[in-house]
Every structure is written in structure tokens, then in C-alpha cells.
Amino acid sequence: MMVTFQVNGRTETVDVSPDMPLLWVLRDVLDIKGPKFGCGISQCGACTVHVDGRARRSCTTRIEAVEGAEITTIEGLSPGGSHPVQRAWEELDVAQCGYCQAGQIMAASALLAETPQPTDEDIDFAMDRNLCRCGTYLRIRAAIHEAASMMATEPQGNGNGAPATEIPTAETPATALPTVEAPAEGGER
């Protein structure tokens, strides 16, 4: 069937089976690779995109269900990766393998659009369905708070119209750094 919808501000019409998941239309028909395949059953959240502004699992969203909808993927979240969530993710060096992070960022940006100053409980509720196999959860939580504070202090920091500033190259990240001590006496063999 023909389905027409908006993706990252562009109108797309595809002729595919009505039960084809949005994820695979994005990835293999429209060549939008940001949303990732992790489980296929809405368990991991790697495929998270925004459908009409809300975080949705594209792997279990049938394409017929998005007729007329506005879809945003990580590629369309901001010009040049300037969304506060993206900048916070970079600044705190959240990613390890990075595979889940597009989904994490889409879930976090949807959270902040609705709840600009989330509590830890808000973050738990919004983010618990996004798995990170590498275990970057502590930095994910910290980065969401960091993005929220960026949005609070920057004009237009509403999660969509953030200015496309350069990423700061601060030497000191906001995460807890290790402390290092000199060899203890007798510490050598």
C-alpha cells in the first residue's frame, strides 16, 4: 500500500506492505540508518524515533499506522547535532559502543520536551525501556540532567530550536573522574 508521512521535515511516500515495521521502512527503503535494530519486539529501545513528538518503538510500529504522521529520527533531531541532549552526550562521553545511543537520545529528548527539569524518577520512568548493553546508565542519567540545565540557561533551549553552536572542548568533563594516587609504600613487588 502507499503510505505518506513526514520524516525529518521531508514528505515521503512509500509503497510497501502495510505491516512492514516503520524501522525497516526507514532503514532499508529510505536509507535512514540512525534507528537501530536490537530486538524487534520493543524490548531494547534502540529503534526509538519520535512519532508526532512522542518516543515510539519503530520496530513494532506498522507503517500503515504512521500515515500522515510526523516522524523524527536522530538524523533530524537538530542541525549538526546541536540539540542539548546530543551535546550533553558528547560532553560527558556517554557512549561506549554507541549502538543504543541514538535510541537513548531520542527517548531523552522526548522526555525533556515534556519535562524540561526531570527528576531522577522522571528519568527512570522515561528511560527504563532503553537498554544499554555496555552499561553507560550512570552517564546517561548525568547527561540528561546536564542537557536539562543547558536548556534552562540557553535561549530557545526547548529541545528543537537549540542554536547550532560548536561543541565545547572543555578539558574537564562533568562526570566523576577517577582519582589517581602514587604508588603506596611497598606497593611494588
Binding site: C39, G81, L131, L138, P173, L177, P178, V180, A184
Partner: protein
């Protein structure tokens, strides 16, 4: 489609930069991910070796030679080169090297090996470049090389005040002969400006903007997509298959039976389906009707293994791996003894990016784009099974969406290559999560039957472990072995380690901190039991055991372990607080992959058994230098969180020779709300060569957790996962 920059034959691109004297060929082949090639117009570029390229305008490109699986090696190895080349990190562009054993040594990701293997060679590669920059400047200025020095991409001659940028010197330097890397001068660590500083992941921007970085994202023009259906019971073969309905399904181009070679490491029998889109291929799979000849695995089950292990525990062991002193006499004479049976299940890697590989057979060549940890063995396996020469196979390395040991094994590469040769056009094979979970090489389960005792002074005096594991004919299955040198061996006067093996037809293999990820739980759990039997504080009891100023068998250095234990006790406030009932503190320490780690975990267990993990303290000793602290902390925290993921709910169950669990609803990964509240990471620097961080933080986290549960509730955890244990208390 995201199209490679031009054609697909990497060989067309090669040999473009085999240039000026002292220059070497830099092979980077197809640039599928838009990262940019080293320019072909390279007559004046400075290329002292396979790692560095400097253009006259001062742009520095550094090759990252190892596969990136999330461990941060694509950032870390170039940091070592940039440090000794002495350029500003901000001026460096990092490129992923393709697989090329002629140019790069030990190009693999595994065993926390990158740091110990490459720390010196990468520094030397950079130092060669710096040496040539100084030589070029000295030559141009007619001064002695000893009179010039470098400073972040600039050479200075203090006496005359002359300076030149590296870019300005590139052409001259390109004409010089490179010095011997083994004897080139290296910086003193006190001069480091990149090593030891926080440097962000070089792929961060691409990750946060969703660029097509991963194997699953790679495409070629006219590429088709494949799925591969295998027998649910390991290593079964296709008896008959009705492919008519599959071939008639929308988008399907090919469907065929593959006989395989009967080896789960390379190619087992199955049915390939190839279609225009992956979803169509996978949908068509539902129409597949196959009769399987189940292999010998069909007789095996988790319940059967448990029954057999219990029987074996009552019999004399098959083999004694180590015996010191007189265990039976020491047990008879001990002040207190403990008997305990520990076990842990099979678990699966579950890296988030499912196995995938893109392959194209053309002109007698197999070109592959593979997110693999071990391209050497991938190439070998492909060549062997397809009956072609290894020189006909080329592999581009693509960022892996997690590794954890799964991508040490490359049967998905062989499957992709086999299918690609059959269909003659580029093919991307992609497994489903179900394929991944049901055809892994699992962390093997195991059973430990312990007896131990303490003497009148409360010291550990006797230890016996009958380890019931997997294997046959006197050999252990992969990653199912135990060494007689493993701590606490050689620290207890009366010690016996014995084993009995059960035949296994389920494939097993290395999973992050292989064997240590299980032994940490059982060894440090049983030591904790003995500490309590002795009425001793668990940290003091361990320090006592380690009170031997020597290096034990197997290279274990007691002093280094004491160092991290004392440090973690101090940082965590061990022994200083009275915790309420239901809240407890546990400790664990473990040596693996050359790293010493001690960890303390605080938990709260509600009366109904609900577990909450609180704060965690980690202290590690991986030698004299933490190369990239920002990533080191991330990696250590990830290791701890993965450990808890193993412990909380993960179990692979075998029934009828097949895996029961198929996806994350049945095989849960730890989630954000289950993660610890905080993980304090601290490194003790010792005068030892720097070693790796990918694995050693994981093993002690599990016993620290289970020992904390005991402290909180009195429930001693001797079996995992925790989801199957009753932790309630009253």
C-alpha cells in the same frame, strides 16, 4: 543507498600513497562510511609508517589499527601515537585501518590485550615521526638535531629562535629514512600531555547524530539482504526443505539449502533466504518448512547437566589439577569447616548489534565488511570453508555494536560469504535477536563442590574444590577450564582442586572476562563463607590470606591485591558504619587479565526479597598509567554493571539440545532502574607496565554483590541468577 565513495574494489584504491623515500604504503581501501580517504595526491605528504600521515597544511591523520567494539581503542591507540609524535590532539583525525596483517600486528579485540600489547609499539610509531620532524628541521637549519625540540606540532631551535610547523617540514621529512623504532627516543612520562588526560571518543559526533557507523548500516549498490535459518538443536542438518512458498513470497530472490561443514565455529547446515529488503527475507522465513536431522546435542538439557553434576560430585573426581599439603587431615583438624555447592548458568553475550556481515564475491575475490573482533581468524575461516585462498579474502573493519567476546567467533562471516558466492551480488546477512540468542557460543555453566576450613587463629588452612565442568577425553570445553594456579591456590597450605567433565554439544566460548566472570562469584563467595566461619571481618580475612610478600603461581602478586583491597576498604568506609537490617555491604577481589580489582557493594534487600543495589566502590591496579581516564572510568563502570546484569537475571536454558530463551523478554539485560546508584572508580598506580581495562573490573563485582546480600539478610547466594533465589528475610 549510502554508496561507497567510488567502486567497491579496495585494490583499486591501494598503492596510491606508496611515495617518497621513507614513506610507506597506507592501505585504507574503500571508505564505506564517508570518513575520507588519505589523499592520493601525496607526493609531499609525510608518511613515516602505517600509522601517521601528515600533509603540508599540517593535517595529521592517525590510523587506529584494532577493531573498535566499544572499549575505546580507536581513541586510545591513536592517543599513544599522537603523544610521542608530539602533536596537538585537536589537530588529529583518526581513521580506522582495514584488516591488513602485513602492516599491522595483532589486529584483534580481546583479552584486554590492546594496552599491554601496543602501549610501547604505538608510542614508538609516534616517536619515529617526531624524530624525523626534528631531523628535518635540523637539516634545514644546519644545526645539530640535539639542539631542536618539539612542541605540539612545532619544532623549535632555542639558540636561534627559529621555529617551523610540522606541516612546513613534511616534504623534507618525507625524504628522510625512518630510524629504528626499537631504539628511537621516547618521552619521559612526566612530559605526557595526551596520555593520562581525558579524551572523548573520536566517533562521538557520528554516534550522537546517527551516522551510519556500524556494520548493520553498511550498504552497497544492488545489495540484497539475507537471513539464515539453522536447526534449533545445535549442529543439526537439513533433512529436507520445502522452499516453494518462500520463493513465492514478496521480494524473495533466492532460497537454498546449505549443507555446511558440521562445525558451529564456521558453517552449520541451514537454509538461506535472500530478498530485496531484510524484512522481506525474514518474513519469508515464516513460510519455511524444514525437517531437521538433529545432531547429538538433542539429548542434552540444563536439567540433565544438573542431575549429572550432582552424581559426579558424589564420586571421585576424574582428574586432580592441584594438590598441596594434606587436605583430609587438615579438614579433620580444622577449628571450623564449611561445605558448600555453588553453580552458575550458561549465559549469552547479547551484544546489542546482532551479527551481520556484508559480502561481495566478484572477480575471484571475496570482499567483506565485517564488525569482527578477530579479522585474522574470520579471513581464515572464510577461505577454508569456501575453499579459496586467504589472499582472495579482504576485510574492512567496521565499528562493532558491542563485542564482549561474541565477535571473536565469525561463523556469521562464513555464512555471509557462502551466500554471497551463491548469489553473485553484494549481500548483507543479518541475524535476528532470536538467531543471536539461540546460536551463541555461551559462557559455560559450572558446578563447584567445596569443602574448606580455618585454623584456631582464624586463618584459612584448607580448601577443596571439586569443579564439575564440561568436556571430554581429558579436555575442557572452550572457556570451561580451571587452572591449578588460580588464586587462592598457593596461598593455602592444604589445597586440592579436582575436576570432572561432562560431554557437551552446546558451543561455548569467551565472554568478557572468560571463566573469571564465574570463578569470581564462586571463589570470593566461598572465601567470604570461610571468613564468617572464622568469625573474622571479610576484608581482614582476605588481607591475612594475602599476607605473603611474594608473587604466587600464575603471576599473581599478593602485594598488588592487598593494595587495592586496602584502598577500597578505606574509600568505602568499610567497617565504620552500622547498617540497618536489610542493608548490607560486601567485598570481592579478583585478578584477571593482568589487572587487580577490589570492589565493595552496598545493597538493600526488602523483607519480601526485592533487591536494590546502592553505592559501589571500585579500586583497580593496572600498572603505572591510565591512558585515557575518561574512558577508563566508563569501561570500569560498564564492567561492574555488566556483572550485575549477569547476576540479576541471566540464564540460558538448554532443552532438547536447543536454547529456550530467544529475546530480551526472556533473557533480561540490566536496566537503568536496576543499575547502582553510584560507582566510585579509583586507580592505584604501581610501578608495573600498563595493562588493559576491558575485563578485570567485572569478576569481583558479582561476589561483592552476593556477599552484600548475605550481610544484609543472612541469605548466602550459591547459585545464579538471583531472580531464581529467595532473598526474603524476617
Amino acid at each position: 543507498m549510502s554508496t561507497p565513495t567510488t567502486g567497491m574494489s579496495r585494490r583499486n584504491f591501494l598503492k596510491v600513497s606508496s611515495i617518497a623515500g621513507g614513506g610507506f604504503l597506507l592501505s585504507i581501501g574503500v571508505d564505506p562510511l564517508g570518513k575520507g580517504l588519505f589523499a592520493a595526491d601525496a607526493a609531499v605528504d609525510f608518511i613515516p609508517n602505517h600509522f601517521i600521515r601528515l600533509t603540508p597544511d599540517g593535517l595529521v591523520t592517525i590510523m587506529a589499527q584494532n577493531p573498535e567494539i566499544g572499549q575505546g581503542v580507536k581513541t586510545m591507540l591513536p592517543m599513544l601515537i599522537a603523544e610521542e609524535f608530539d602533536v596537538a590532539w585537536e589537530d588529529v583525525t583518526v581513521e580506522q585501518a582495514p584488516h591488513d596483517p602485513e602492516k599491522y600486528s595483532r589486529q584483534f579485540a580481546g583479552g584486554s590485550n590492546a594496552t599491554p600489547t601496543h602501549y610501547m609499539p604505538m608510542r614508538r610509531a609516534g616517536a619515529v615521526g617526531r624524530h624525523l620532524m626534528k631531523q628535518a628541521a635540523a637539516q634545514e637549519w644546519g644545526v645539530d638535531m640535539s639542539e631542536v625540540e618539539t612542541d605540539a606540532g612545532v619544532v623549535r631551535h632555542a639558540a636561534s629562535g627559529r621555529t617551523a610547523t610540522y606541516g612546513e617540514l613534511a616534504e623534507t621529512a618525507a625524504g628522510l629514512t625512518a630510524p629504528d623504532p626499537e631504539t628511537v627516543e621516547l618521552k619521559d612520562p612526566s612530559e605526557f600531555r595526551i596520555i593520562g588526560t581525558d579524551r572523548r571518543n573520536v566517533d562521538n559526533r557520528k554516534i550522537v547524530t546517527g551516522q551510519p557507523l556500524f556494520g548493520i548500516d553498511f550498504t552497497l549498490p544492488d545489495m540484497l539482504y539475507a537471513v539464515y535459518e539453522k536447526c534449533p538443536s545445535f549442529n543439526g542438518t537439513v533433512a529436507s526443505a520445502d522452499l516453494d512458498a518462500v520463493l513465492a513470497a514478496p521480494g524473495v530472490r533466492h532460497a537454498f539449502v546449505v549443507d555446511g561443514v558440521g562445525n558451529t565455529s564456521t558453517l552449520v547446515g541451514g537454509v538461506a533466504i535472500v530478498a530485496d529488503t531484510w524484512w522481506q527475507a525474514n518474513e519469508a522465513r515464516k513460510l519455511l518448512e524444514v525437517e531437521w536431522d538433529e545432531g547429538p546435542a538433542a539429548e542434552q538439557s540444563t536439567a540433565g547437566f544438573a542431575r549429572r553434576a550432582a552424581e559426579l560430585s558424589m564420586q571421585p573426581p576424574e582428574e586432580v589439577l592441584r594438590e598441596d599439603g594434606d587436605v583430609d587431615a587438615a579438614l579433620a583438624g580444622a577449628a571450623a569447616t564449611v561445605e558448600a555447592a555453588y553453580d552458575y548458568p550458561f549465559i549469552s553475550h547479547a551484544q546489542l548489534e546482532p551479527e551481520n556481515c556484508t559480502a561481495w564475491w566478484h572477480d575471484g575475490r571475496m570482499e567483506m565488511w565485517a564488525p569482527t573482533q578477530t579479522p585474522d581468524s574470520g579471513r581464515r575461516d572464510v577461505a577454508e570453508v569456501l575453499g579459496i585462498d586467504e589472499s582472495q579474502v579482504s576485510i574492512d573493519l567496521i565499528r562493532c555494536g558491542g563485542g564482549f567476546g561474541r565477535r571473536l567467533y565469525n561463523e556469521w562471516m562464513v555464512e555471509a560469504a557462502w551466500i554471497a558466492r551463491e548469489v553473485g551480488v553484494p549481500v548483507k546477512l543479518l541475524w535476528t535477536r532470536e538467531d543471536d540468542m539461540r546460536y551463541d557460543r555461551y559462557r559455560p555453566g559450572g558446578f563447584h563442590y567445596f569443602r574448606g576450613g580455618v585454623d584456631e587463629e582464624g586463618r584459612l588452612s584448607v580448601w577443596e574444590d571439586h569443579f564439575v565442568s564440561y568436556g571430554e577425553n581429558g579436555r575442557f570445553a572452550s572457556s570451561a577450564s580451571m587452572s591449578g594456579n588460580l588464586y587462592p591456590a598457593s596461598f593455602i597450605p592444604n589445597f586440592r582442586l579436582a575436576t570432572s567433565r561432562m560431554p557437551l554439544h552446546v558451543p561455548t566460548g569467551a565472554l568478557r572476562a572468560p571463566s573469571s566472570n564465574a570463578f569470581g562469584f564462586v571463589l570470593e563467595g566461598f572465601i567470604d563463607e570461610l571468613a564468617h566461619a572464622a568469625g573474622r571481618d571479610p576484608v581482614e580475612f582476605r588481607l591475612d590470606l594475602l599476607d605473603a610478600p611474594r608473587v604466587g603461581d600464575g603471576g599473581f602478586d599478593a602485594a598488588r591485591m592487598r593494595g587495592v583491597l586496602e584502598s577500597v576498604a578505606e574509600r568505602s568506609g568499610w567497617g565504620q558504619r552500622d547498617l540497618p537490617r536489610g542493608t548490607g555491604r560486601g567485598v570481592g577481589c579478583y585478578y584477571s587479565h593482568r589487572g587487580y580489582f577490589a570492589e565493595v557493594v552496598v545493597v538493600t534487600v526488602r523483607q519480601n526479597g526485592r533487591l536494590e543495589i546502592g553505592d559501589v566502590w571500585v579500586v583497580g591496579d593496572v600498572g603505572s598509567q591510565i591512558i585515557n581516564p575518561l574512558n577508563a572510568v566508563n569501561s570500569v563502570q560498564g564492567g561492574v554493571i555488566e556483572a550485575f546484569s549477569h547476576a540479576l537475571g541471566q540464564e540460558i536454558t538448554i532443552e532438547g539440545g536447543a536454547v529456550v530463551e530467544s529475546n530480551f523478554d526472556e533473557y533480561p539485560l540490566i536496566r537503568l532502574t536496576e543499575a547502582p546508584k553510584s560507582i566510585d572508580v579509583h586507580f592505584v598506580l604501581t610501578d608495573n607496565p600498563p595493562t588493559g581495562l576491558g575485563e578485570p573490573s567485572l569478576p569481583p563485582a558479582i561476589p561483592a554483590l552476593t556477599n552484600a546480600i548475605f550481610d544484609a539478610t543472612g541469605n548466602r547466594v550459591r547459585s545464579l541468577p538471583l531472580s531464581k533465589q529467595d532473598l526474603s528475610w524476617s
